[in-house]
Symmetry: C2
Subunit: 317 residues, 2 copies
């Protein structure tokens, strides 16, 4: 039974793609089981409830040597702690390639599209397999979530085409209304602790060139995508405390938390200290006032934040 | 114009797959051009001549930041010297994933099959494109070459199916005869200098865990696949001298040269010193006599030699 899982701090794509890929592999004769590496965010339970699907079980560790399949991530910092001891036999992902290596030739499928589920739709087609309605709903939800219903600059024509093809199979007549319901569920944060909000969609990245270790910096980058940014920004003081705590706990060089207004397509980033302030100024030309930097329409961590920081921290040769 | 190239010391797959992938990309609207990173071996000119195709131009360097596509390799030690400064946008490969990283999401297609060309055939099908006869001949030649006409344990059902499908398109009625002619051309080494023979199909591998640098060892692994092993082994003294020279020149921890008898499916490996003798004994249980170790039917460097050495040199945690 091949375990299939997405990244820690799972989002809807990490959960939906694990479920769909596990089912696809099983239909192709490779018995597979989906897992999650952390607590669900506020959007995914809505998606699973509407699809009538139970959340995958939590996975905390696996014995060294276990064969695994990764979806929606490939960097060890975003995976099971002992990933380097596991045998990665399959990866389906749409992120940049990080520190992954494999001891044997493996099946790797990376495409620069907006969502892992868009690649999974292609895998169904290539295998000549029909898409089941429940899988269609999960994949469609993942695409809408990852692309913020096509608002994100990561959106590609393939993602739009996937939604067009999947909506009738999933039985979703009004995609716009469904997307807004997903985003409303995601934004209904209630009295969730600030530390939990920070960690909900939070990834740790090593920047710089590993060949010159003194250049390497490790940053934690959190994002809160919401239709109600006023609520999140109103909790700025608590959130900055949680960021300070995360920086110390994880031994990071810097922490950023971007509050992304989904409907206005705007990024307001909370700035912890002079370190982050300097980096934001030099990387994005963004000034900081009252602990906040206006990053404008940079709403994609993957496409607009991470590559810029990577370039900033990588020494020129 | 996107440069497409296979590994240094190119074999038939590295050349044929660069040509075919460049043409496929161009047909799909991505202007691409095939290159080679070194001199052709003795088999590839036969294949190109029969196909009526000119050898791709030699590429020695590219400016930092140039977008490139890799076929049949992914490790920096087997690519252009400044690979880490280039922008890898596409990889089609069937080897284990090494030290490759990408700054942006890329198109990566790795499958554990016997030959890169087998994956390229799938890409044609997925794109709904017919295979041109010249491309069919190049892909078929690559599969026969990499799998030693299905003798290698790297052979998969997909490779056999590819040859079955491609042979009629290529107009090759007797695949067995064509494969033997390819292997005869490859074995016609004439008075080629020993240093050239060593480097003809030669790859440098870093073994061990980069996280514990003192465990890392760099080895050069050469292979001469031939239908006339007696000729090669008759030049043992010169070849050992060439290996000694390579070890010093490349700053290697060890060098091995495997003489693979294609038709008998047998590997006789030349052993340079006590270092290599110890590693072969402890990894494969193979004793050395008169400067040669009998590695039996281990005719695949990729599947039978490299993973065993990787396991040997990686410290147990």
């Amino acid at each position: 039974m091949l375990p299939v899982f997405g990244h820690t701090n799972p989002d809807t794509d990490a959960i939906a793609s694990a479920l769909v890929y596990a089912r696809l592999l099983t239909r192709q004769g490779v018995e597979a089981q989906a897992y999650r590496l952390g607590e669900l965010n506020f959007e995914t339970p809505y998606v699973l409830r509407e699809a009538g699907v139970a959340a995958p079980e939590l996975l905390t560790d696996l014995p060294a040597g276990t064969a695994v399949a990764l979806v929606d991530h490939n960097e060890s910092a975003q995976s099971l702690a002992n990933l380097s001891e596991l045998t990665v036999t399959r990866v389906v992902d749409h992120h940049k390639l990080g520190d992954l290596t494999t001891a044997q030739p493996a099946y790797l499928r990376f495409e620069p599209v907006g969502c892992t589920a868009t690649i999974l739709l292609a895998l169904h087609r290539e295998a000549g397999l029909t898409v089941e309605p429940v899988d269609a709903r999960l994949m469609l939800s993942a695409v809408l979530s990852d692309t913020l219903h096509f608002r994100s600059p990561t959106t590609t024509p393939r993602d739009r085409e996937a939604v067009e093809v999947l909506a009738p199979v999933a039985g979703i007549a009004d995609v716009e209304a469904y997307a807004l319901a997903m985003f409303a569920a995601k934004s209904d944060l209630g009295d969730t602790a600030a530390g939990t909000l920070l960690r909900m969609d939070y990834k740790v990245f090593p920047f710089g060139d590993p060949a010159t270790p003194q250049s390497v910096q490790t940053w934690g980058l959190g994002v809160i995508e919401t239709t109600n940014p006023g609520y999140v920004l109103g909790r700025q003081t608590e959130l900055l405390e949680a960021m300070d705590h995360a920086r110390a706990e994880d031994g990071l060089n810097g922490v950023l938390l971007s509050v992304v207004d989904i409907l206005r397509e705007h990024n307001t980033t909370l700035v912890l200290s002079a370190t982050e302030e300097k980096v934001l100024r030099e990387t994005f030309g963004a000034g900081t006032q009252g602990g906040r930097a206006d990053l404008g329409n940079r709403i994609s961590r993957k496409k607009q934040i991470v590559p810029a920081l990577e370039a900033y921290f990588t020494p020129q040769s």
